[in-house]
């Protein structure tokens, strides 16, 4: 950001709403507000769309992460010498990423083609074909700016490197070779029970008492064996924490929620003709989503200025109310409302009375920053983790890799046919919730060690060999023969790591306070919770406005467009 060209002045200088940052929540709010005929100025200090939701070239990712990893110089003393009637509140940024660890094992290859990569900052993430983000895309016609492909399968991994396919449908259960006959029967009966319950059939009803009980208890009550329980809890309902250890579980799933998750999964399978599984992934990466909403907003009149940092907040000297922002160009822009991306912190001038009309208005926003962290890892390989299949999800349920693993680890492999990397390469996104950076690293490393050959350093080929041999002997197991062809199958080399980026991300929630700020990417696999939060923020700033009224449906052929190309 050193060589930013001279800023042209922005005209007009007064808006209904200023949005800073082009992450997904900000972009949706910008689009929704523009649709509600508000005048919106959407600013981003970066030259690309998406902020913490963006997809970046390989070389840009480390610098983006590190620019958010340290507290910048403490804010200069409030420029109280401002001549006009405003006081200036300097923005401070907060560190959002830590323990950033970039390893390159094949420098030449990757550096030359950095721009061929679109790496998601907030991976792994997918769309469920029937989830809220797809609904929102279709309802707003935003799907016309995106293209999707199907994620072909879901697997559950174990510590031996096997990948077991998740029997998520009737045909999949029938076909599955790892399940016993009894397990198949129990699983299918459970699915039928859930389907019957959801369809409101008279004689198949899950009691209210059961619905309020923990999902894991209900699964036990249904007599499901541990393996299937694990499939349902972590690979279909996508629970984050160990559901069977209430001591560590922070998101104990109720049966009701579990059933809702199953319903979402079930509705996702087969929704689009070309999508074989439950999930979709956008071509060019997840950053496309924020950008698509920005385009949607722009169509409705939202004004976009990228590469425009904001330096300070303008507040009324007397009331302490928000008035506007000062841009890096020195220009002051005024608006009724302001939405900030989670990078920014506003330090109140000491001595001024806290003007907090909105404080503690919503219990929803009251818990902030206590959700711990999420460890993320991005790996690039030259071979797929599984032959014959390129785009898939792997879930490592709690305790599946080592006894102290309390959260599920998810891995998404995306191939070059989704235009995220060089042809013939694969990008692996890994994430796990954690309490601190060390724990997070341990989780990500556990997966990498199970699935990948990690060269000790870029020069030492001998080291690579010995590492492989050591792992190879450790992972051989008879069950891998009968498995669905895990990567540790005899004769198959584990893919070698070419490049990796490991980092921990703060799980900052959105807040509606003195000013509104949006949440960081959460630890979920899809955008459902983020869209809920975004909707609440929008309601907060525009209580009377409808969030994308139905009349905005512009593309009745939406369904067709959202389906991936063949």
């Amino acid at each position: 950001m050193d060589d930013i060209p001279p800023y042209p002045p922005i005209d007009p200088t007064t808006f209904d709403l200023i949005v800073i940052g082009t992450g997904l929540p900000e972009s949706i709010i910008a689009a929704a507000s523009s649709t509600a005929s508000k005048s919106v100025l959407h600013l981003d200090p970066y030259p690309f769309y998406g902020s913490h939701f963006s997809s970046l070239p390989l070389a840009d990712l480390p610098s983006f992460l590190s620019s958010h990893s340290t507290s910048p110089s403490p804010p200069r003393s409030p420029s109280s010498d401002d001549p006009n009637e405003f006081s200036l509140l300097e923005f401070a940024t907060r560190p959002l990423y830590s323990s950033i660890d970039i390893s390159t094992f094949s420098p030449n290859l990757l550096d030359q083609h950095s721009r061929k990569f679109n790496l998601d900052v907030a991976g792994p993430r997918v769309f469920f074909c029937a989830d809220k983000s797809i609904e929102l895309l279709l309802r707003t016609g935003t799907n016309q700016y995106m293209e999707f492909k199907s994620v072909d399968a879901t697997f559950v991994g174990d510590n031996k490197g096997n990948l077991w396919s998740v029997p998520d449908s009737r045909a999949a259960i029938f076909k599955d070779k790892s399940l016993g006959l009894v397990e198949k029967n129990k699983l299918m009966r459970f699915f039928k029970l859930v389907q019957g319950h959801l369809a409101g059939e008279q004689d198949i009803k899950i009691s209210e008492e059961d619905l309020q009980s923990p999902f894991v208890d209900f699964l036990n009550k249904m007599g499901l064996p541990p393996k299937i329980k694990s499939f349902i809890l972590y690979a279909i309902a996508m629970a984050d924490y160990d559901q069977e250890d209430t001591g560590v579980c922070r998101d104990l799933l109720k049966t009701k929620d579990g059933i809702d998750q199953l319903a979402l999964y079930n509705a996702s399978i087969g929704r689009f003709q070309n999508a074989s599984g439950a999930f979709l992934y956008p071509i060019y990466g997840q950053g496309e989503l924020s950008q698509a909403f920005c385009r949607r907003a722009a169509v409705k009149g939202c004004l976009y200025v990228l590469r425009m940092p904001v330096t300070a907040l303008l507040v009324d000297k007397d009331t302490g109310c928000y008035k506007g922002v000062r841009l890096a160009s020195g220009q002051d822009i005024f608006s009724q409302k302001l939405i900030l991306d989670p990078t920014f912190k506003v330090t109140l001038p000491s001595g001024s009375s806290p003007p907090l009309p909105l404080k503690e208005k919503l219990p929803f926003f009251s818990l902030k920053d206590d959700k711990g962290k999420i460890a993320r890892g991005i790996c690039i390989t030259k071979t797929s983790l599984k032959p014959d299949i390129s785009n898939f999800l792997v879930v490592y349920p709690p305790r599946s890799l080592f006894p102290e693993q309390v959260t599920s680890i998810r891995l998404l492999q995306i191939a070059s046919n989704l235009a995220v990397c060089l042809p013939g390469m694969f990008v692996l996104y890994i994430s796990a919730l954690c309490n601190d950076d060390d724990q997070g690293k341990k989780l990500i490393h556990a997966v990498m060690n199970t699935l990948l050959t990690v060269p000790l350093d870029s020069e030492s080929n001998a080291a690579v060999q010995s590492e492989t041999a050591e792992n190879g002997s450790a992972v051989q197991d008879e069950t891998s023969e009968s498995s669905s062809g895990g990567p540790s199958d005899s004769g198959e080399e584990k893919p070698t790591l070419l490049w990796s980026a490991l980092y921990s991300q703060e799980l900052t929630l959105g807040q509606v306070d003195f000013i509104c700020s949006t949440p960081m990417p959460d630890g979920k696999l899809n955008y459902n919770d983020l869209i809920d939060t975004t909707f609440k923020i929008f309601q907060e700033i525009y209580p009377g406005e409808e969030f994308f009224p139905e009349t905005s449906l512009e593309n009745p052929e939406g369904d067709g467009d959202a389906s991936p190309e063949t």
Partner: protein, 696 residues
Amino acid sequence: MHGRPRKAPKPEDEAASSAKAQKLRALQTQFFSFHHNKIYTKEAVELSAKLLEINPESYTAWNYRKLAVEHYLNLPDCNPDSIKSVLDDELRVVENALRQNFKSYGAWHHRKWVLSKGHSSIDNELRLLDKFQKADSRNFHAWNYRRFVAESMKRSEQDELKYTEDMIYANFSNYSAWHNRSVLLSALFDKKAEGFLLKEKVLPEEYEFIHQAIFTDPDDQSGWFYHLWLLDQTVTTDSPLLASSWPGHGSDVLLVGDRCYNGSAFSPFSALHSDSGSFPIVLYFNQPVRGVNSSTVTVECGFNKNEDLLWKPLSASNSQTARVWVAHLKVSSSDLHSTVEVSVGHTKGIISTRGFEYSHPSMLSFKVHVQPMERDSSQVSVAESISLREENFKVYGKQSEESIIDSFDQLIIKNGHETTASNWRFEALAKEIECFRELLSLVDCKIGKLTLARLLKAYDAMSYPFANKLVHSEEVLELYSDLMKLDRTHYQFYKDERSIVLLQKVTSSKGSLLQHCFQYKDSVSSAICGPICLRLNNLSLSRMGAFEKLLWVQMLDLSHNELQSIEGLEAMQLLSCLSLRNNKLRSLTALEPLRKLKLLRILDISYNQIGDHSIDTTRYVCSSPLSHSVGSELNRDETVTSDVALINNWEAFYIFKDFNLNQLDIVGNTIADEKFKSVLVKIMPKLKQLDGKLLD
């Protein structure tokens, strides 16, 4: 494609369809004029294509096109290119028509016809089929056509088998795919193709495959059908076997001239009253066979070879295929003791309905003793009427048990060869039994229970002569009782099955059979009279079975059961006295099996439901005088055709005319009024007693 509700048409739809009809009518008129005038110009042929695209069901249009094709192919300037273009056109028209309605018989048929002209390629046809089978994976037209294409274009069964597998993996609720699999496997077994030589290698894999479907969704019926086919493949031996015979091998037959005899040295099982000096030889096979005659079955009696012995099939229909065959052997009265040797299948020619040759030649030999008449048969009269009442029966005496047991063993033909050769069948069944016990421990499932019952029954049947008792019969009976409660719709089916199992159980061991054997002794005569009476009364039987074990029975009490049919009873050739009192027989035609019992003298059909129901449904399955063979018989008999009463009671005439009854009880049936009784007397002049009243 399946299970979609019909919607009432909207007004605009109706308007559209009437417009379509208008257009279609105009097209049709023009088409017919071309057709009638045999005009096959390009324009005319094009018009028929247009018609077929709208209405693929127009058979006339398809036939017209066939004529047009023939016309073009017979043109003098016809060359390979023009043939190709004509046939390509046909294929295109069919494809368009199928797009309109992929279940059009006419269109599929036309395509077969075009293919018979030796055109198109297998790839082309399979591509088309893939498209239609994707649209509806259960489209049986497409499956039929697929079989046609695969056969005519010599696609290997193995490839097709793989295809069914793929279809099943996509969705296993596919009757057509499972069915085709059974067809293909049968063909591969028959061919003894590489890898399909041994059923014991292939069937376990198929069982494994179908288990996946059955366990995943036991409520889905398509898999069960395939399982039933597999079970049949496991149980049924290819070549037919002789299951039992009368007389049994190594037995002694005593022919007595009158009813009273002192059994002394001879087992009452094998003493037989014979007026005529002949006795029946009954062969009971494990499956229907044809080709039983004096060359395939030779009978040697003493020094005489009975080359002209006439073997008759005993089956409900008049076909020449039956499980049971009978011949009547005449013993000359001069020969008081003779040995009879029956050899079965030493000459080829006995063939099962599935085309397998009888391949286990067996030999039966037994001794025949003739006990000359002590009294003149004309004296046998009034006093000898038999009344099957409770007080007239005695539990069979203990001192006689030994002889009964001996002769009981003689009823069974041992086929050691076949059984040792098929250990895999046992193993397969045992594995299935275990598997379905497990399924039932998971779910309460009707079809699972039925399958387990079938498996257990099959297992018992296979192991029977060696295990010497039916190990699982109690469990099977319980399963059927359960099913009768669970599934009221199919109550009667389960009850029938249960009856047969019960009969098999009763007849399976000496001990259980003896409990049902009684000595008849009426109050009038003091001597121990007549043969043993088998009493299977009060057992809630709805069907008869286990005939192979009951060939020796001469007196049978089936009273107080729930029999609706006595199918199969024709096998019991020695029956002379039968009580069917208090059953649920609904019609006279239900008595048809009795027509073949030439020794039957005493019959009690009182207190049934004959005549209760004005519509006799068995009429449709039994041959009637209206059918060819019987009708001509009727017409020949002029005394009958002239008698109006008989014409109106053709069923009675048809059933009873061949009977040789002395005594009949028919009271307690709606039909049995005085008028009907007088008809009966007319039909059976030899009848001596009707409903307990003596006739002159």
